[in-house]
Symmetry: C2
Subunit: 341 residues, 2 copies
Amino acid sequence: MARMVGIKDVARQAGVSVGTVSNVINRPDLVSEQTRTRVQAAIDLLGFVRSESARQLRAGRSRIVAMLVLDMANPFFVQVARGAEREARAAGLGVMLCNSAQDAAEEAEYLSLFAEQRVRGVLVTPADPTGANLAALRRREIPFVLVDRSAPVGECCSVSVDDVAGGYLAADHLLDKGHVGLTYVSGPMHLAQCRDRRTGALVALKDRSLPEDALTHIEVPRLDVDAGRDAGARLLALSRRPTAVFCANDLLALGVLQALYAADVAVPDDVALVGYDDIEFAAAAAVPLTSVRQPAVQMGRTAASLLLEETGDDADTHTHQRVVLQPELIARESTGHASRR
Amino acid sequence: MARMVGIKDVARQAGVSVGTVSNVINRPDLVSEQTRTRVQAAIDLLGFVRSESARQLRAGRSRIVAMLVLDMANPFFVQVARGAEREARAAGLGVMLCNSAQDAAEEAEYLSLFAEQRVRGVLVTPADPTGANLAALRRREIPFVLVDRSAPVGECCSVSVDDVAGGYLAADHLLDKGHVGLTYVSGPMHLAQCRDRRTGALVALKDRSLPEDALTHIEVPRLDVDAGRDAGARLLALSRRPTAVFCANDLLALGVLQALYAADVAVPDDVALVGYDDIEFAAAAAVPLTSVRQPAVQMGRTAASLLLEETGDDADTHTHQRVVLQPELIARESTGHASRR
DNA sequence: GCGCTTGCATGAATCGTTTCAGTGAGGCAA
DNA sequence: TTGCCTCACTGAAACGATTCATGCAAGCGC
């Protein structure tokens, strides 16, 4: 590969100094019309592309914000990322999207990578239950915003959806349908999402004076369709098969649904099922899935804009915020809701 | 933010020269045990993180490969990306994943960004029908590999799945079930995927001595669930409603399925339906979807490994390759295949 | 004509690494 | 002792942009 053409080559070609070329690119108003066109011609002729690494070396930080999500295979996070990206790009920043796959070690590796890249900031849905990764981030003075997780006030910014409320919505909806107990299928309880949604369900039980043990719990190690299938199998093996199931996300619910379907258990007649996230595929499932909708795109947008505020020019006036959005129940056939026609 | 600690600070702290610190980091075998531990201690003490931009400025190129896919909301591409990432990271490179959203302008913007970043290479599923974006890439001498699209031999590397064969599989399967005509639902025909899958279907018709016009075509502008719903509505409005439908991908098929379901048209009894990609959600659909499976992860892995070969140390011996993988039909209930029990 | 301002252009210094030609010190053979 | 080699380390020169103090010329008012 031929040597890259640099700003110097352009300067020589146009017969001006390097400073002037730089000005043409970055502050064109400081340069006379005539010079500007001459330099621009040289740029086009030589096919000059400025080196981002050189600029950021000088600037001390990059023009990229990183986003680290729990599971890229989950369309919910893709939505969140879309919102964040839109916001960041509007501000002239690039987004680097990465997948921790719910693994703390993977997460740590990515965070190191981000540190080396001197990213502007990080949008992260933490996977590390110990919090050590976030502590490292703070130690390195890299601004970050928690996504889909709320932070103690003042520590950092966070944008989340009220998971207790969401859990309540789901459970309340099932209890409305006459069920007197329910099974909660979740991923690992060290994930706040899984914990809080259960808490919400418990509150709903309590509001109806039902005992805590009216909620049985099936915990699987991951939050995906495969794990959902496993959970479904375990459900079916229970001595007293539940009549109402609430899953911590739609992927789990789809897996459970498949397992029930394969075992000829009718949904919603034998078992009512509620998911969480309301991903696009929930409505297209074997039985359209009742689900708790989260404002995913808005969450991404808000998170990005908080980060931009924190890392922007008026960063000194920034105070950490804790934004909590509200979920919404979308009732469909999996809980006997007549959605057709 | 306090000034970043650099290699110089470490050197001063450890009482050695900058060159030695660099050696400790990059070629530890050149440094004596004793010095190494002293430098390492200084690094840990000061919390030194090396600046990736400075390294790449020196190296002339970055340690990142970019991946530009047509649609991140399509789990198929997420799978491909997963394969590519695994391969790249095994080779010590990072992956920057971006979404052109089937938009040529967006694609062009990303490619410029990649050029500024001096990425090692690009894995791209082109969205630009004119080929201008790829031409620009070639002009800038950025190595790239086409993904899910085959290239004329010798121009560049490509990894694709035989779409003609896939189209044939789908159509042949439907014709096997006794249908004597079918409707093809696709995205824009400037996408090779959409064209080739239709070609395959036509071959299948011809093999059975059926006329070309036994294939009707519904074209929608995008390849997502929404567009599928529209296509479904258009299907239902046809004067002679088809009995067999083949969709260019699973998202379209899921959309069509929803539309049929909402109109009380039974699948597969009234209409048989075949999708493409065999995404995870195909099996969990309202009626489990017969689909043409593509080896997505393998495609990503192969593409990344071709790119690594092209940009590696033995790049001079590299010749462009055109890898074509084979698809596989997965029969499920949407074509009357009894999958239960 | 003198002093001032304004508008443009200059080019050296800087960012934080890597690399490489040198510098010494010490060991070993003749 | 001399010459030669190896080993460990040094420090200056890149890499390619941005920035900023500086210079120069033209325009203006008095």
